[in-house]
Amino acid sequence: MEGFRNQTVRWAIGVIAALALPILNPNPYHLDVLTNALLYALLALGLNLIVGLAGLLHLGYAAFFAIGAYTYGLLNLHWHWPFWIGMIPAAIVAGLSGVCLGVPALRVRGDYLAIVTLGFGEIVRIAFTNLEQWTGGPNGLLGIAHPKIWIPGRGLIDFGVASMPYYYLVCITTAAVAVVCVRLSRSRIGRAWVAIREDELAASCMGVPVLQLKLLAQGCGGAIAGLAGAIFASKQGTVTPDSFDFILSVMVLAMVVLGGLGSIRGAILGALLLGSLPELLRWFEQYRMLLFGLTMIVMMRLRPQGLFGRSSQGLAPDRAHAGSA
């Protein structure tokens, strides 16, 4: 159990450092960059459940993020739900849409699943753009309320456009979700997910209900993205459909793969690296997507298992269909 304790200590140091950072460096621009990177980390944690653990290649993850953002936005604009309550249905609706998408989509596998999910992502985005009477069309939803918090002696404080409160909000949420993910990945459910990723047929013969667990993975991953979406909407105050394009789905996927499929600290670190990379590459403004593409290619060539991947197996190993009946 020595290794376990070491890891706990390392996690604790990470969390304390993250919490102390705004006091050491209150530069709002830096905090904003970090907040965005941590929001990516939250998304990467969710996608890691789907792609990393359960092995379902998903290319439309941004759709769940969008569904969460719009759910909170609409609840807030029409019925004045505060953020703290609105984020719950945001997560639930996004999670349920993950399950609903899963029911038909899990009939196909591998590359085809990737394409179906990509199509789903595009359909959701185009639908949000075209359903103007509800979503405000390409202009999106405007005037979504920021979170408010009640502090004794100072009354109700609106987060407004300050950087620090959002930093803490995202930081704490991401840490909490990370803990949940770690626990989940070490549980019977997490093991069953990995078993499905490694060999679906063998898993089902060992008693793992494959379809049910795949749906569960989609649901959990979707819910985490929905939560991230609600935070995003409350922070921005607006949501527009073009924030949820294919590039976002790919960015998050690249973060998970960079970190190493199935590795939770990998997902977080991958997201922090890639999430702040475009900001670090700010001087190259025009070149940053070019460099991002190049990074993906080089990374796959040099370290295919990612930073913390423990197997080079990845998805759908050749072995799975090499044998005869």
Binding site: V51, L57, P104, A105, R107, V108, R109, G110, D111, Y112, A114, I115, V116, L118, G119, F120, E122, I123, I126, A127, N130, F246, I247, V250, L253, A254, V257, L261, Q286, Y287, M289, L290, F292, G293, L294, T295, M296, I297, M300, R301, P304, S312, Q313, G314, L315, A316, P317, D318, A320, H321
Partner: protein, 306 residues
């Protein structure tokens, strides 16, 4: 216009778009056939073709060439030039990005392909700018009225060029030694390697042909619409992929039929329903098809190899 004339007009428009889809879809299908990779960068090769053709058209109209050259000559040179450029680029991509990871897990190849797509897309943006570029059209604006339906010379050129290329490809694949090797590689890469078929060369050739076809699609696209943008490759690539799936991925005649069917559906859909939702049609068709008929309309190949 009578309803029948309107229908025929939409049909003609759809066939034009469909021919372009078919040209791009062929590359997807051939490449998937030999190495089971959805080449996400294929849409970008289409754009490379369009931009190279644009450059050549601009050069030929401003360059030192005598002005008496007939328009079809210009077009032929531009087409061949862009096909050659995209073909070489396709081969280079295969050699330096895909071949080193051919035996890595499938996800890695897919991510590499997506990275390549980002790279090329942004390279094009840096080279040619982010705004729409006008594509000068050397084809005369001749048009004919056939029973109330307008057919332009432009459309005839699209049909002729794509028809010739597809017939040529069919001949190549079905009746040459190279074509046989390509079909064999698509069946079983490992067995072919053991039998002494130069698998690497066959795969590279497949990339060259696929990319060249996409490039021709790119030029025709530019001529047809009059403007091109570095973004266009993404959507056209996805639609062409839809066409390839429609025909059963890995199936060459299927890709041709799939392209035409998708073009017709879109042409008719945009004509009769709302054009705002036009792009959703393609994705809906794709998703529904994959869910209920994953082997495509003509395909008999087992689609799921994962």
């Amino acid at each position: 216009m009578t309803p029948l004339q309107l229908f025929c007009q939409q049909l003609a428009n759809g066939l034009t778009l469909g021919a372009i889809y078919a040209l791009i879809a062929l590359g997807y299908t051939m490449i998937y056939g030999v190495i089971q990779l959805i080449n996400f960068a294929h849409g970008e090769l289409f754009m490379v073709g369009a931009y190279v053709a644009l450059t050549l058209v601009l050069l030929s109209s401003a360059g030192p060439l005598p002005s008496g050259i007939p328009w079809w000559m210009t077009l032929l040179v531009c087409g061949l030039g862009s096909m050659a450029a995209a073909g070489m680029l396709g081969a280079a991509i295969e050699r330096f990005a895909y071949r080193p990871i051919r035996h890595a897990p499938r996800l890695n190849a897919l991510i590499t392909a997506i990275g390549m797509s980002f790279f090329l897309q942004n390279a094009l943006m840096l080279l040619y700018g982010a705004t729409d570029r006008h594509f000068p059209n050397p084809i005369p604006l001749t048009r004919w009225e056939v029973g109330g339906v307008t057919v332009t010379l432009m459309q005839l050129v699209v049909w002729a060029a794509s028809g010739l290329l597809m017939v040529g490809l069919q001949l190549l694949v079905m009746s040459t030694k190279l074509g046989m090797a390509m079909r064999a590689t698509a069946q079983d890469l490992k067995a072919c390697a053991l039998l002494g078929i130069p698998v690497d060369r066959i795969i590279a050739t497949t990339f060259v042909i696929g990319s060249a076809f996409a490039a021709m699609g790119g030029m025709l696209f530019g001529l047809h619409y009059g403007t091109i943008n570095f973004h266009d490759g993404y959507l056209m690539g996805l639609k062409a992929f839809t066409a390839a799936v429609l025909g059963g991925i890995g199936n060459i005649p299927g890709a041709m039929v799939g392209g035409l069917v998708l073009g017709l559906l879109e042409g008719l859909g945009a004509g009769y329903l709302s054009s705002q939702w036009k792009n959703v049609f393609a994705f809906l068709i794709l998703v529904v098809l994959l869910l209920f008929k994953p082997r495509g309309l003509l395909g008999e190949r087992v689609a799921d190899r994962a």
